[in-house]
Amino acid sequence: MLDVEKIREQFPVLHQKVNGRDLVYFDNAATSQKPKVVIDALVDYYQNYNANIHRGIHTLAEKATKAYEATRVLAKEFINAQSEQEIIFVRGVSEAINLVAASYGKAFIKEGDEIIISGLEHHSNIVPWQIVCLERKAILKVINITDSGELDIAHYKSLLSEKTKLVAVNHASNSLGTINPIKQIIDLAHGNGAVVLIDGAQAGAHLEIDVQALDCDFYCLSSHKMYGPTGTGILYGKKELLEKMPPYQGGGEMIKDVTYAKTTYNDLPYKFEAGTPNIADVIAFGRAIEFIDSLGKENISAHEHELLQYAKEKVGALPGVKLVGTAKEKVSVLSFIVESIHPFDIGQMLDARGIAVRTGHHCTQPLMDRFKIEGTVRASFAVYNTKKEIDQLVEGLERVIKFMK
């Protein structure tokens, strides 16, 4: 069991009043708050050893390089990759997907090939593939989803063929919380000779990730949804694939030798890390990974699952409330609509009581279209949230519903 009060003490931002009331932060699927160890790591770097990495031979450069590379080792262990060479630092999941789409797409996607995504995807896992398909004259196919918000695996099987070159799906849905059966998805794709990219944005802080057991080809994470800083994240790629892929961007760091006639590229992972990287945030991301590890994913999941069950019961019982996304396996995301009250109004009224939720389409417009709604109210929970906070949400919703009647 986790001592949630003790965990809350580590998050300075949680201890404030918003509109006269204690802040209730339920927008964790958008970005999680940061523990003090992460914030301190940023300050420590800038105050004590700010230097550009890899090239310098002076003491500060050495210290910064070691700290930066230490996060790569932590990330490798976090997802059980085979080697650090498979861990590429990127700005976040969006950049990771764009990197694969651009680089893998350029090298391996040809006219008439097919790319499969799912009906649960964030715009970040739709648009890069649309761009590739336009450029390469390839075809984008979309896996149907059921009324409960789960992937229709029979439909997925029917889409797979020898034309399928790549499958890109999320580990968990940001809008509905559905956890997808990614092992099954990967195995089926491999059976057809396709590679698989998993968008792990909503899994990083909640679910166990073992890329070797999954045998997935690419896996993407954003630091800022895992208690780490914004502006960094990782792309995991199988080494043999990354080696075959052309560079994504050119610049410093990513080269071995440059002449006007010919440039040879650096080895993995540096081949994909052009320019001075986001050193401070990568170092602090390491503290966030340690923070998650110190609590244990299993404990985090158990606590969040309890919160989700409690919220489902309490919020689901309110008059006029309809839960959107009722998959059996879910991360701690509660999406709902209230009859004849617009999600924006609910969001604004909850904010007036210090409660932060997300309202709108959550960057998944096609998914909202599927349910024939404009958007939802989404409360998403993190390890520092409590049942008492859910009671505050319920109280706020009760007032809104009563007033709008």
């Binding site: 509109n19 009250i341 617009h342 924006f344 109004d345 404009e374």
Partner: protein, 146 residues
Amino acid sequence: MARSISEIQDEIISEFSLLDGDMEMTVFYIMELGQKLPDMPEADKTEENIVKGCQSKVWLTASMDDDKIHFTADSNTAITKGLVSLLIRIFNGQTSDTILNADLFFVHKIGMERFIGTQRSNGFAAMIKQMKLYALAFKSRQAVKS
């Protein structure tokens, strides 16, 4: 004779001051104002009557009667409907010149930026712009007539 837009704005300011800065009361009050707004005919809720630049849907039309302008509006969100109702309360029955030259000092005085946020502030500015565009159109039509 319509009351001046300054008088109406002063009235709004004093109403909001009664709410004493309580955010929840303020939001409820704005929505209440929206509920009192006369219904807009469904036929007017067309694509071309939608105010561009609002995150919520806002429909706005205007008519002119004896050199006075009358607006009708609706929105799919209660708060935005309340916000547009404030503008209608100020502008309805005014001349195009008054609307075009209006200084909407109440916006700042009631601390609107504090409770509507950046997204809605942009939407609110878009509503004002659209109302002024209507006033400008009526003004130029009058100029052609005379």
